[in-house]
Structures are given as C-alpha cells and as structure tokens.
Symmetry: none
Subunit: 235 residues, 4 copies
C-alpha cells in the first residue's frame, strides 16, 4: 500500500507527493474521516514527516485547497481568450472549467464538496475564489450587455443573481458530467466531453441572456417585453 518507498527525496517533491496523497484521501473519505495516518501511508512517508513539512491537518487541508483552487483558476484563465467577445470568453472559460474538473475530479471534489462543508477556515478560502469567479462572470454579462447596446436593461442585482445561477449550473453540470453511468459495454454512454458540456451551458444561458438584454421578461402569463420588471411579475 502507498507509494513505493524512495528515501531521501528533496523537500519540494515530497511536499507535492503529500499534497497528492491528501487530495486523494480527502476526496475519498471527507475531511474529518481522512486520518493523517492514511495520508502519510498513501504518500509513502512517516507521519512525523508530514507534520514537519505541513504543520497540521488544518494547514495541510488549506495547502490542498490553495493548490487546487489555484490550479483550477489557472486552467480557466489560460482557457479564456483575452480579447474576445464576452460570449466567446464565457464559452472558452467554461470549456477550460469542465476540462479541468473532468481531469482532476478529486481536486474538484475537495474544493466543491469538502472545503465548503467544514467550518470557517476553509469555507472562506473557497468562497473567496468562488466570489472571484462570480465577479468575473458578472463582468462578462455586463460587458455583453454593453456590446449589445442595452446597458440599462439589467439591474445590478439581477446581473449578480444571473451570475450566481450560471456558476451554480456549471458546478452542477461538472458533477453530472463526471458521474460515469455504468450502463452497457464501454463506449456506450460515455462521459460527455468538456466541449459538449460547455455547449449545453451556453445554449442554456446565452439565449436567455439575449432575451433579457432585449428587455423581455418572463411573467406568469408568458413572455412579455419592454415593460419594467416589477410589473412583469405579479405572482
């Protein structure tokens, strides 16, 4: 069990091995149920060494969160085409996001499931990153509105809500896309590619945003246009 023993490994590498082991173990067991014993064993080192390098379980978890969220942000950032139109930026960012979460499901699980459910030190760390993402998306929506020449149609709070909804939808799809439905011989019912998932998102999101920016709103009786929002929804 655990990695092959190789003595005298430089610190930088050992630390990464430990973080790898920690990501795996936190994802498999959850923060609380993951024991330092198991992490050390998976990393192929003794427990005191883990403490020597990472100080404590909390610090280790924080280091994991930091590394994984930086990796995720880096992946998305790298994927986004800087000068493109807002929709293309969203599209490329989503592709980067889905590709990364599919490639590192354990890292994603730690960020999305573990970090958010365990007390103050950690939840905040992810919340900050998530807030940045939401802010980025918010900007994108604003930019899109400007591009479409209809800045006034979307209230600030409305945009924030939309960004939150969009991010939540993406998170949900990330989980869904990673669940390998075990039916039929392999080949049938495969993982949807990051491209497909991103397309689903774009189709879901962009069309609606377009209409919103044109001033249309949903109302109990059907879509209506041009009126102010408060009138549209009467409950």
């Amino acid at each position: 069990m655990g990695a092959v023993k190789s003595k005298r490994v430089p610190r930088a590498i050992r630390e990464q091995q430990m973080l790898d082991a920690a990501v795996l173990t936190f994802a498999r067991r959850g923060y609380a149920a993951a024991s330092m014993d198991e992490i050390a064993e998976v990393a192929g080192v003794s427990k005191p060494l883990v403490y020597l390098y990472l100080n404590s379980k909390e610090d280790l978890f924080s280091a994991v969160i930091r590394r994984e969220s930086e990796a995720l942000v880096a992946a998305v950032t790298a994927a986004v085409e800087p000068g493109a139109t807002a929709d293309r930026q969203l599209w490329s960012g989503l592709r980067g996001f889905f590709a990364h979460t599919a490639e590192y499901p354990d890292g994603w699980a730690v960020l999305h499931q573990q970090a958010r459910t365990h007390g103050e030190p950690f939840a905040r760390e992810v919340a900050v990153v998530r807030a940045e993402v939401v802010a980025f998306v918010t900007e994108l929506i604003g930019a899109a509105a400007k591009e479409a020449g209809c800045a006034g149609e979307l209230a600030e709070r409305e945009v924030a809500g939309l960004a939150h909804a969009l991010v939540g939808a993406a998170e949900s799809l990330a989980g869904w896309a990673n669940v390998r439905t075990d039916e039929g011989p392999s080949g049938e019912r495969e993982h949807p590619s990051a491209k497909d998932t991103a397309a689903t998102m774009m189709n879901f999101v962009w069309a609606g945003l377009g209409r919103l920016m044109e001033g249309e709103r949903w109302a109990p009786g059907g879509l209506i246009g041009q009126q102010g929002r408060s009138a549209a929804v009467r409950g």
Copy 2:
C-alpha cells in the same frame, strides 16, 4: 445553554426536538464535527435519551435527512399548481423551493452540503430525492416543448443536461439568497424574497428554453438558428 428544560415529554415530541437540535448542529458544525454531546445539550436532554430514541449518530443523521427532504419535497409539491402550463408549474415550484429553503436554511444546508459529502448511506438518500426533482423538471421541459409544438428540437440528453443545469442554478441561488443577511444594519440589504429569486430563475431559464425550442443554438460566432447542433458548435 440548550432549550429550556421540560421534563417528562412524550416520545413523539422529544424526537422532534432532537431532530431539530440535530439539524441545527449538523448545519453549524458538519456531520463529523457535530458531537452527540452537543446535539443532546441543544435538545435539552441527556445523551442516552438520544441514543434510546434514535439509535446511533448515523441513524440520527438519516432521520434528519429523511425528515428534511420530505419536508422540502412536500413544500415544493404543495406549491406547484397541478393543472397549469409547464412554465407556471416551474414558476410555482421554484417559489415553493426558495420559500422553503429560506425558511429552513439549516435543513437545506444539511441536505445540500452535509448529506452529499458523507459516504454511502447518506449521499444516496439525497441523490434519490434530487434525481426525482431532476426527473420532474425534465418532464416539465418536455411538456413545455410539446406545448410549444416543437418536440423534436430537443435531444433527450440535452434535456437532461438542461434539467441538471436548472436544478444546479436553483441550488446555487438558494444558498446565495440565504447568505446575504449579515451586512449593514438590519433592514438594509434584505433577503430577496422567494418570489424575486424565482423570477430571476425564470427569466434566466425560460427565455433560453424558448429559443432552444425554436431551434436556435449558441455558436462561437453568435446565436444561429435552424441548423443542426453539430454544425453550430465548432469550438
């Protein structure tokens, strides 16, 4: 600390008090970090009584999940207008959902954050309920397509993806709507009402669905219509 001591309470009532305490504590601390000691204290009883009535921490957590998910489903079900059009059903269901999650944030936190991150017995229980909700939404989208007279335009898998995205968006907004409380003096920056949140969702979702059903798809160059999807997305 804990509730006011009231001796000799019938079992049925005590059990509810214990479940209340458990919901609170699990939401505050997370499953693993919540100790039976604290739950008992919050419930205002001794630990042995908790074990006598609820058997074990696992059983207690299961009972909590069951009660809370049944309550949530009941609230949404009660909110939906049975014979209405698909969009109205979605609208009323969302209102019920946001109203319930706003009223019982701890119950929602346990279902959404704790139950899903802690091993097989629990994750499955919530997964089942969530799958039912997704199925319901999937049906709604199908019905809407039929109402709009364009059944063929949406592939089955596409519908499933949309339903997942929609549910994820709603979950994200539920969390968002509940968090906004702690800024400024009370009164300023209030919870958005369930109605407002549901409206955000409907505006976000329904318009987009409408376009999708009309055969429009998003493509890197902008919205395009009528063509097959594979042509639309070239990446």
Copy 3:
C-alpha cells in the same frame, strides 16, 4: 419477543418468571454481557419491576445462584439413599447430579461457569456450596474406608484431594455429557444418560479408591503396596 404479556400477576410468580429469565440470559450471555433490559424483556415485564422485586443486578444474580444451587443440592440430596453403603450413596448422588445438570443446563452453566468467574460476592456463594459437596464426598470416602476396615491407610489431606478430584471429574463429565455432538441423523451419538455417566464415574473412581484403601499406591515403576506413601513416590 419475551413471554406473552399477562398483567397483574402475583409477586411470587412474577419473581420466579424473572429468575427464569435471568438464568436463561446469564447462561446465554454471561453475567456482564447480560443486560437488565434483556432480562426484563425475556421475563415479559418492564425494567422498573425487576428492580422493584430484585433490587439490583447483583442481588438478582445472587438470587439466581441461591435458587439454582439450592435446587441442585436438593436434587442430589433427594437422590441419595440415606442408610445405604458409602458406594451406593455416591452412586445415587452422582445419578441425581447428572440428571439435574442435564435437565437444567442453564442453571448448571450459571453455577459452574458464570458464578465462579465474577468477583467476590458470587464466587464465594458457589464456593460454599461446592465445599459442602466436597465435604460430603470426603465423609463418604471416610465412611467407605471404615466400612472396608482400613481407616488408617488414607491420610486426611489425601482424602480431601481425592474428594476434590472426584468432584472435578464429575463437573467435567457434566459439561461433556451436555454437549450435544451434532453428527449424523438424530439418534446417532445421543446424550449419554445420567445413569451411564454416573457409571463411568463409579468405574473410574471406586476401583481406584478400593486399591488405595487396601494400601496400594502408584509409583513410577508401577503399583506397589503396603509401603508408606512418601517412599512410594520418588519422582
């Protein structure tokens, strides 16, 4: 589970039901692992009633020991033919003993296995009864020696040792005889009857005693007679 509920039973009878339940449960589980809960359930009453009648677990166990050892002593006493020769008394006593232990294996298990292995209050109670039995057997051997007209041949301590050995052998055979070896179709390999077991004991014991009383002793080189014992055994 437990006996059929019948309310309003006179105390004397209820107590016996409780003792029955206790014997069963102590034999099945052992003293420590037997819970008052289970005993009460097997007895078909509520726990407080057990405490009302029997005071405590210790008292309950003592009551069980007392009842069972009195029953055993009574059975053996009743079996012994008062005026008979020593060997006939031993023979009839053994038959009574094996018959009783076979009929009440749980009672015997409590006396022989549980009572002796659990701390001072209980071990002493059984020890006293056992000592009485040993004393009785010692007398019997003495009487036999007298009958045989060779009182001087057996040292007092030697007689005591023989009595202990005899009692131990009988206890061992009681356990052995009660183990139902589950081989073959029923009928094959049955319980030996109390008579058979007693016969085995008598054959084992009486012949040897006869020789001892005639002054013969075993010595490393074979049986030798007439000499004093210290000379016989040289190691």
Copy 4:
C-alpha cells in the same frame, strides 16, 4: 501504581509487558470487568499504545489466550518423557501441568475460568487446546490397555469418558492446589508441591484404570469382575 515507567522500549518487549498486564488483570477482574484503562496502567503505558499494538480488547484477549495456552502445552510437552510407559508419561505430564499452573496461576485462571465463559471467539480457542489434551490422554489410556494386554475390555466411548473425567479431575486439583494459601501464618498449610498433587492424581486414577482394564466394573452391590458392563449396572 503500575510498573515503573521506562520510556522508549522496543515493540516486542512492550507487547510482552502488555500481555503480562492483561493476564493479571483479566484473572483478577474477569474479561468484561477488566478495563483497557486498567490494563494500560498496569502495563505502565498509555491506552492508545495498547490499541496500537494489540488492536482491540478482543484481540488482546485472544493474544493472551494464545500465549498462555501455548506456554501450558509447551510446559506439559516438555515434561512428558517421550519413550516411557503410558503411566510414566501420564505421571510426568501431570507433574508438568501442576507445576506450570502453580507457577502461573493467573494464566491458568484466564484459560480455565475466563476464556471458557466468554462467547465464541475465545471459548473455541481453549476448547481446541483442551480437546488436544483429552485426545492425548485418551491415547495414553489406550496405550496402557495395550501394554496391559487387554485392549478389548474398554469401549471407545468409555475411554473418552475416562479421559474427560481425568482431565476434569486434574483441572479441579489445579485450582484446589493453588487456593490453599490464605490460611494461617505463612508456612503453615503450604501449597502441596506439583509432585504431591500429581501423586494424588495417579493414585486416584491409575489404580482404577488398572482394575477397569482387568475387566472389573463397579456395580451397586460392589465391585464385580469379568461380566459385561450392561449387566453390572442395573441402577
């Protein structure tokens, strides 16, 4: 209380210390009443170390049973003179047995009293060892019969019964020999030596066996010879 603290002891030695402490404590208190806390304290270490090395109370008890029964078997085996006549083998084996049980009364108490009264995992372990001893004694009796040239006189089941009686008698004497200590000022009423106890057994047993092998049986009217057994015992 507990042993003198000696830090940083190699595992193999610590384990033996723990087993020593466990034997002592199980013998004193019984399996259930012996707490891991007390065992750890007696061993002079902390509880977690006991768990680290021995895993659980059950495993600890099993380890104790294994060590003690192996030691007992080894002592008896070492004592038996391999090529000697059956009676000499029995004699030397008994001396070894009584010497060992007298030297390690706690180990013997655990095997004889505790292990047999506590559920399946343990009872079986001792039962197996005891069955081996009984089998050995059975062989010895058979060999003795052959030496005496009267193989046909003893039925198989009869031999088994005798072996059980013999073992039971020895067990009883082992307990008896160890208990006699606590009366009067030390010096008076000493432990009988293993040699004496073994002699009592041999005198008790061997003479009787001799007669049995000569075809004599006990019968209600006195010893009778040569007839079949069924006729001898009429009850």
